[in-house]
Amino acid sequence: MQERPVTDPASLRVVATRLAPIAALLALAIAPVAAGDLKSLTTPQELVLGQIFAEQVDQQYPLLHDPVLTWYVNLRGRQFADRSPRNNLPYFFRVIDSPEINAFAIPGGHIYLNLGVLQVADEEGELLGILAHEIGHIVGRHSAKQIVKQQWASILMTTARGAYYNPYADLAANLFGELGFLKMTRDAEREADQIGFQLMIDAGYDPVYMIAMFEKLQQRYKEQPGLLEKLFLTHPPTDERIANLKTQLIATRPPEGLRVTSPEFQETRLRVRDRYPAPPPKGKDTRDKDGKGQ
């Protein structure tokens, strides 16, 4: 069968006829975007989405309902968040019952910390370094920006398909699909590090422990890659990031006498050790490349 050349006027007519409705839909789709709906998320929009996503996270992840740990991470988290440029958000911190060392932030001030982070932190500064970094993502509106990008893609895709569009369904699917917007860009990570570093100082904690934590995680990754797999997929503590933080440390010159730990942290740490001891390190990690245990 001979193909009709694309320059054939008949072909062009067919193409134009078929594309017309799509173009019309696209234009209609873009109209509200252009009007400002999707350029960026406003704070209320972020809060709404944050709450919807938080409900999903709460359902899909095993939350650790320990009143003391919940109290502690909210106490410190809110102290840090209150000193951030986005202190107008209500922040909520939750602990996930998982020995994996990971943390993530979703829009609207919801931050999740795995129990593994509490288990691995020897000093309060180490733990707060992770917490501050996640607040940095909220302050930088990183996940909100990811959402807008995904919304654009989603709208274009669904418009081209002529299908109905439900941004919640798509976003919810992407939230956990291949780590979705939990996986930040390198720039976003760098910015979250910078914000977190400054928050550490503003809250009166020595930021050196943030760097120490990153170095510790790098070392742990070599010993137990399974426990840090998701962390390294979403925001790997690379040499570059550590180097950047060290540069920031030299440039900032934090004041003397910053805190390293607190009685509240010691109380929490004791509870973690008593009730949720870390799994014993294995000599050899038995996970395969897909992260599935044998």
């Binding site: 839909l25 709906d37 209320p44 709404v48 309902h65 003391v68 102290q79 569009y165």
Partner: protein
């Protein structure tokens, strides 16, 4: 002479006939050929380690020899049968020997068969099957028939035992009548079996006569057997007594034992004796333990450690001497032995992810009927007793039963049962006071629906996602944290839908009884139980939801599990909810706020100290938290551990804003949605335009500010050295939609922050 029919015309029928003749032979040959393989498989089943190892190697060698056509050598290798062999070894040996003998036609065959049949009556059945399977065994069958070993006394008794267990007492009786052994021990054993067979056939008089005759000439072995028969119903003192007695005294003990259990002592025949053996036979057949009892029914502690899935099991409920007994029956079997058969066995269907349940109602000749609930243990497949319906529901499956099945012949005798068990379940109390069979039947229907409701609902929910539990009294439940007298407390708030209840008929004296049971996170320890009675009031003729709350104080900050049952005695309606709740931790000196509580109208007593102390306040509980459009709405909460300044005053800032999660789009929005073929495409975007109404209510040291009311809590209620205040803020009249109210409190002296949020819907 030529055949008129061509030869080739014979070819096809001849071929078919040939095949018909040859094929069974070929099949038989194949079967015979497979025999050594089957034997090899049997040998394979014998453990390689331990005492069977030697036997295994000898048998394997014998199989190899048979395969090599050296059957005589195989027999030599096997040696004579040994009664100490394990069952597998024994069967393998015998089958192998038969194989060898069949080939050699040795006269030993007869002796072999006789020995085996005598030693192991169960083998007779295996042998029968085996003989039937193999057409080549006609000769052996003839040999076996000629042996007539089953007529020998020992073999006959064993055969009778087997038949009894197979549920064929008549044949067992026939096998036993031929016994005329001079062996006294064998005669005694046979008499025990004979009595049992009579009882099975409901020939109680004959059975009892045999039993008493047996007691006259009791030997040690038979006494032990007879006591094993009654172990499940003997009391601990009786056990001890029996163990300390000599054989002669044991005979007297057994007589006394049964006379003490004679329901009508003036009559000669003891119906309990025959009934006991019938129950024993049934229990062995239907409720035997599959696990050999190892680890499961020793005592409650052991059970808990081995079976965290069903923590409330306590065998002492059924069988108080617990660990002293040898458990070869599951709790249903033990109950059957003790109390008889359930007249009303309610068998629940298994639904996805759950195990089936059973409920037994037993009245029999006892003055007080009994009701028990069982569930099948997950993964083990054995049934176990559970304390109450709530526990049963955690792991059981059930569907609502037809009330006609519950009490086919409704009897008033079940009423004392319910009267005695009301502490476990309010519905029992109501049943105990039922005035008519139809009332009782209605209550039993409610109970069966209750079980079904438990099971069919999802089992996981938390304090923010409670759910209604059954269709007899729908409930909405929420749990609020607060602090009371320096210790965490919770208030279980509920709204019961009474729309199906006729208030006019019930009258003013009617009540609603709410019971909250708080457990630890493993459902193993009851931490607190509170029963509260509420007057039955309907807020309005339109709204039939009765709101109440139950307070549990002096708690530790932990992750708890709880059940709430709400019961309306007059109508028999009951609603249940279960869930988990995390009691928040607010250490001394650290700023905290209690859970937000939504009120849809001003409480009757504006001066009350706390909404949590007044059950009459119309809460708006989760998960509905649905408020009618235009109704006044306020949110209340308490603030703890505010730091006072030098003059003793506290200063704090309350920031409260309402976020619209969903708002009905306006006409223009809808038109826009329709116009671009993407009504659904853009419809959700309107929810993005969430409104934020933010109110900063600062400097709340006064008792009244705009939109914010502060009531100081009595200091004795507050944690030591800290100040707690009760705050309420009116929410503006909101349109239909879903909202979240966020409250953040900042202590202006300490700089600490605390936040809470609550989602609700306005219809």
């Amino acid at each position: 002479m030529r055949c008129p029919v061509p030869a080739h015309r014979f070819a096809a029928p001849a071929l078919v006939l040939g095949l018909l003749v040859v094929s069974p032979i070929a099949a038989g040959a194949q079967y015979i050929g497979r025999e050594p393989e089957r034997l090899a498989a049997l040998v394979d089943a014998i453990p390689r380690e331990g005492s069977g190892a030697l036997e295994r190697s000898r048998l394997a060698q014998a199989v190899a020899l048979v395969n090599d056509g050296k059957a005589a050598n195989a027999l030599e290798e096997l040696g004579p049968p040994n009664d100490d062999d394990s069952l597998g070894v024994r069967y393998a040996r015998v089958l192998l020997r038969l194989d060898a003998e069949r080939e050699l036609r040795l006269p030993e065959l007869r002796a072999t068969l006789a020995g085996v049949l005598r030693a192991d009556p169960y083998f007779a059945d295996v042998f029968d099957v085996w003989m039937g399977l193999n057409p080549q065994n006609k000769e052996l069958r003839a040999h076996a028939a000629a042996l007539d070993v089953r007529a020998e006394p020992e073999a006959a008794w064993q055969r009778a035992e087997v038949l009894l267990r197979l549920g064929d007492p008549r044949r067992a009786l026939n096998a036993l009548t031929a016994i005329g052994s001079s062996d006294a021990a064998l005669r005694n054993r046979a008499d025990r079996t004979l009595a049992w067979a009579h009882f099975q056939l409901k020939e109680d008089a004959a059975g009892q006569a045999v039993y008493l005759r047996l007691l006259d000439r009791l030997d040690e072995t038979t006494a032990a057997l007879l006591f094993r028969d009654i172990a499940a119903i003997a009391s601990p003192p009786e056990r001890q007594e029996f163990a300390s007695l000599g054989t002669a005294a044991r005979s007297a003990f057994l007589r006394r034992f049964w006379s003490g259990r004679h329901p009508v002592p003036v009559q000669e025949g003891n119906p309990r004796l025959g009934e006991h053996y019938r129950r024993l036979a049934r229990a062995l057949a239907e409720y035997g333990l599959q696990s050999n009892g190892r680890g499961y029914f020793t005592d409650s502690e052991v059970f808990r450690s081995l079976s965290p899935a069903l923590p409330y099991f306590d065998s002492r409920l059924v069988f108080e001497e617990g660990s002293a007994a040898r458990y070869w029956l599951d709790p249903r079997g033990l109950l059957l032995m003790r109390h008889g058969e359930s007249e009303v066995p309610l068998v629940g269907q298994s639904v996805a992810g759950t195990e089936p349940s059973q409920s037994w109602l037993i009245s029999g000749y006892r003055s007080r009927p009994l009701l028990y609930h069982f569930v099948r243990r997950t993964t083990v497949g054995e049934w176990t007793l559970v304390l109450n319906l709530a526990v049963a529901a955690t792991r059981s499956g059930a569907t609502a039963d037809d009330p006609e099945r519950i009490l086919p012949a409704l009897s008033r005798s079940v009423l004392p049962l319910y009267e005695s068990r009301f502490t476990l379940h309010p519905i029992y109390q109501s049943a105990g006071q039922a005035r008519s069979p139809s009332d009782l039947q209605q209550l039993l229907r409610a109970e069966s629906q209750l079980i079904a409701g438990f099971v069919t609902a999802a089992l996981t929910f938390d304090s923010t996602a409670y759910y209604t539990k059954d269709n007899t009294l729908p409930l909405a439940v929420s749990v609020a944290n607060f602090y009371f007298a320096g210790k965490p407390a919770i208030e279980v708030q509920f709204e019961a839908d009474l729309s199906g209840i006729d208030a006019r008929r019930l009258g003013e004296a009617s009540t609603l009884v709410a019971t909250v049971m708080l457990y630890d996170r493993d459902w193993t320890t009851l931490v607190q139980r509170v029963d509260t009675t509420f007057p039955l009031r309907f807020p309005s003729s339109k709204h039939k939801g009765l709101v109440g709350s139950v307070l549990l104080s002096d708690l530790e900050p932990e992750d708890y599990r709880l059940t709430l049952s709400v019961y309306q005695p007059d109508s028999g309606r009951i609603g249940l909810a279960r869930g988990r709740h995390e009691v928040t931790y607010i250490p001394n000196g650290s700023l905290g706020i209690g859970d937000l509580v939504l009120l849809r109208q001003p409480p009757p007593n504006e001066k009350r100290a706390s909404p949590t102390t007044d059950a009459s306040v119309p809460w708006v509980p989760a998960p509905q938290r649905v408020v009618s459009d235009g109704a006044p709405l306020r949110v209340e909460f308490e603030v703890y551990n505010l730091q006072p300044d030098d003059s003793g005053h506290v200063q704090y800032e309350v920031e409260e804003f309402v976020l619209t999660l969903y708002e009905e789009p306006g006409v223009l929005g809808k038109l826009a949605g329709w116009a671009n073929l993407a009504g659904q495409m853009f419809f959700p975007l309107y929810t993005f335009a969430g409104q934020v109404g933010k109110t900063v209510l600062s400097q709340a040291t006064a008792s009244e500010t705009d939109g914010l009311t502060v009531a100081k809590r009595p200091m004795e209620d507050a944690p030591a050295g800290a100040i707690a205040e009760h705050v309420r803020a009116d929410l503006e009249s909101l349109k239909s939609g879903v909202y979240t109210v966020y409250v953040t409190v900042r202590d202006l002296h300490s700089g600490e922050l605390a936040s809470r949020f609550l989602t609700f819907q306005i219809d």
